[in-house]
């Protein structure tokens, strides 16, 4: 009876569900951007581009079981592509972002092509080298990449139809938010499709997966390329929002904080990526406030976010591997059980079945 009702309410097709979800999120983002101040709109914009990157990274690590410490550098590829195309070639924004996605996917293919061999610690080491080595290219070719100062582009102009007083920050939030919505839609479909299943199959048991006819190396490379494309879009959006691409923004610390964010949010969960993005945006401000209220020295306050990231990584892995979203899911499951029991009439058997369902998909949604 309950199931029949649910079937009536929600569309069955994954595609439609994802579309509905993305639209709902779009409306929520729109309302939020209208209500928030200019500064908070900017926060919303940076949260959106972080989310784009984290969505890719969480699929890579959570679903296909690979680790990348180089996503900050992949963001740099996207950011520099956008600044070069928009600044020098005067491309429009959307094709420039598309080019950023393509370029980064290409670089991701080169880095990830070795993915057939670069398993576990090898991939981690290679991407670590990538993260440390790539920003140095800006110094090597200062004429193209602007050296340590980086490249600057003009801010995006809101269309005149929105009125002359339309705040730039809100427009940036819309651009980055639109990117995030596209990614939500695509990644949600991907994780629930046959491709997503093949990612999980390869993660859980490579030998069994290859016995089922999957080419393990190819699946892993595909996962890396998909998540590199997300990082490229995220980096491109970052360049649009900040109007800047500079090597200092893409150092190893960025890659490591991205990894922290996906672990904290909950590996493999797109909702977890939202939590992670929120943490990335809000933590520096909080630690600043904290440092102010306790009048800590600049050495301490500058390094406070990093220290928190490190602690979070260790504690999360040792104590709470499912992250924030795992906790939220558990709370929802408990609440549901209590609710059902209170309504009554539901046989105990059905109850058990539903909690099993909850536990069976810790890496989805």
């Amino acid at each position: 009876m309950n199931a029949a009702l649910a079937r009536l309410r929600a569309p069955q097709s994954t595609l439609l569900r994802s579309l509905a979800l993305a639209l709902l999120a779009g409306v929520a983002l729109f309302i939020a951007s209208e209500l928030l101040s200019a500064y908070d709109d900017l926060q919303l914009a940076s949260g959106s581009y972080y989310f784009v990157v984290l969505a890719g990274l969480t699929v890579l690590t959570g679903l296909s079981g690979q680790i990348s410490l180089g996503h900050g550098a992949l963001m740099a590829v996207g950011a520099y592509t956008v600044t070069l195309l928009v600044g020098n070639e005067h491309w429009a924004l959307v094709p420039a972002l598309a080019a950023a996605i393509l370029t980064t996917a290409l670089v991701g293919t080169i880095v990830g092509a070795a993915a057939t061999r670069l398993r576990g610690p090898y991939l981690a080491g290679a991407t670590l080298a990538f993260a440390i080595g790539l920003p140095a290219l800006a110094d090597k070719y200062p004429n193209t990449f602007g050296g340590a100062n980086g490249l600057i582009i003009n801010p995006p102009t809101p269309p005149s139809g929105l009125g002359s007083s339309f705040p730039l920050e809100r427009w940036e939030a819309w651009i980055a938010g639109a990117g995030a919505l596209v990614v939500v839609f695509l990644m949600r479909n991907l994780t629930r499709s046959g491709v997503g299943r093949s990612f999980r199959a390869v993660r859980d048991d490579e030998i069994a997966a290859s016995l089922c006819g999957l080419h393990v190396g190819r699946v892993q490379t595909l996962a890396f390329v998909v998540s590199a494309a997300c990082a490229g879009l995220g980096g491109g959006l970052l360049a649009v929002v900040l109007q800047l691409a500079a090597p200092g923004a893409f150092e190893l610390g960025l890659s490591l904080s991205l990894l922290t964010a996906v672990v904290l949010g909950g590996l493999g969960s797109l909702v977890g990526a939202i939590w992670g993005a929120a943490v990335l945006v809000l933590l520096p401000g909080w630690s600043n406030d904290l440092a102010h209220s306790f009048s800590l020295s600049t050495n301490v306050s500058n390094n406070l976010p990093l220290a928190v990231y490190g602690l979070v990584l260790i504690v999360a892995m040792l104590v709470w591997p499912s992250g924030i979203q795992g906790g939220v899911r558990r709370i929802i499951a408990v609440a549901r059980r209590i609710l059902r029991r209170r309504i009554g009439g539901t046989p105990e058997k059905l109850d058990k079945h539903s909690t099993q369902d909850q536990e069976e998909q810790p890496n989805e949604s």
Partner: protein, 292 residues
């Protein structure tokens, strides 16, 4: 030609340092199948401690000794407190915990000593030897570096091969269950392995600090080079790590000398990927590569 000789000599002395870091990584990999990405942070901390001790006492050798002892202790503590919990689990978890520790150590060092890199004194003169009127790019300090690393490598080889403790450590790494049945305290052997590895790592930090300076992030590239050297040597073999370190040192010295220092890390990445594509088991692998 002199430039080539200079770069070769320089490559040997920097390669010796990479070899030491690679040794530290290989020892831990052999014992617990974990790549210790925190090694860069651990040797950074001990070098900072040395820097502080040297600054306050004025004695280089006191700082040197204190750093090595701290390395031993730090390695043992890290294994016992953190890594013991993720050993034998999914490799991803161990990598993430090691990275968390790396970030935490770097942030901690930044809080205590600040983010601005500071200079570090060399053990001996860094003025190159004069040979026939030209000054070579190889100094008494470089000689010291190479000799120390060779001594440590030989010492470790002797320890593993000819002592009872070495035998127990090898047994624990090779077959933990069997070793435990035969009365070996496997956990204690792992702790000892980590302590020794961190000791070698902190030595590498002390040796390389005069040229890279001491700062929270100064040793990140050293970690990469050590890892690349270890992979070059097969990640499983201490002699391979030493040879891999020297080879990588030479290769990177030529890249740096002829193409520019900013490309060195990317060159290491290219070496890493090339080795893994062509000989995934390292240059000296006898085992068949892992197949799926």
């Amino acid at each position: 030609m002199t430039r080539f000789i200079d770069l070769t000599l320089n490559g040997i002395s920097t390669g010796a340092v990479y070899a030491a870091v690679a040794l530290a990584l290989v020892m831990i990999w052999r014992a617990t199948r974990i790549v210790n990405f925190a090694q860069g942070g651990m040797l950074m901390i001990t070098t900072f401690i040395a820097s502080s001790v040297i600054g306050s006492s004025g004695s280089y050798w006191l700082g040197f000794a204190v750093a090595l002892v701290c390395g031993l202790v730090l390695g043992a503590v890290v294994e016992r407190v953190l890594m013991r919990r993720v050993e034998g689990g999914p490799p991803l978890n161990a990598v993430i915990v090691a990275l968390g520790l790396l970030i935490l150590l770097e942030a901690g060092a930044g809080m205590i000593w600040g983010n601005t890199p500071r200079s570090f004194p060399p053990a001996f003169s860094i003025r190159g030897y004069d040979v026939g009127g030209t000054t070579l790019l190889f100094s008494p300090n470089d000689t010291f570096t190479v000799l120390v690393v060779v001594a440590v490598a030989v010492g470790l080889a002797l320890l593993f091969r000819y002592t009872a403790v070495g035998l127990r450590m090898r047994a624990s790494a090779l077959a933990p269950e069997v070793a435990r049945l035969l009365g070996v305290r496997v956990g204690r052997m792992f702790t000892l392995g980590w302590a020794l590895a961190a000791f070698v790592g902190s030595l590498a930090g002390l040796l390389v600090a005069p040229s890279v300076f001491v700062g929270p992030n100064q040793f990140d590239p050293i970690l990469i080079f050590g890892f690349t050297a270890a992979v070059l040597g097969g990640l499983d073999s201490p002699p391979g790590a030493v040879v891999g370190g020297i080879l990588l040192g030479l290769a990177l010295s030529y890249v740096s000398g002829y193409e520019g220092a900013s490309l060195v890390t990317l060159a290491a990445l290219v070496v890493l990927i090339a080795v893994l594509m062509i000989r995934p088991g390292g240059l000296f692998s006898t085992r068949k590569e892992r197949r799926v």
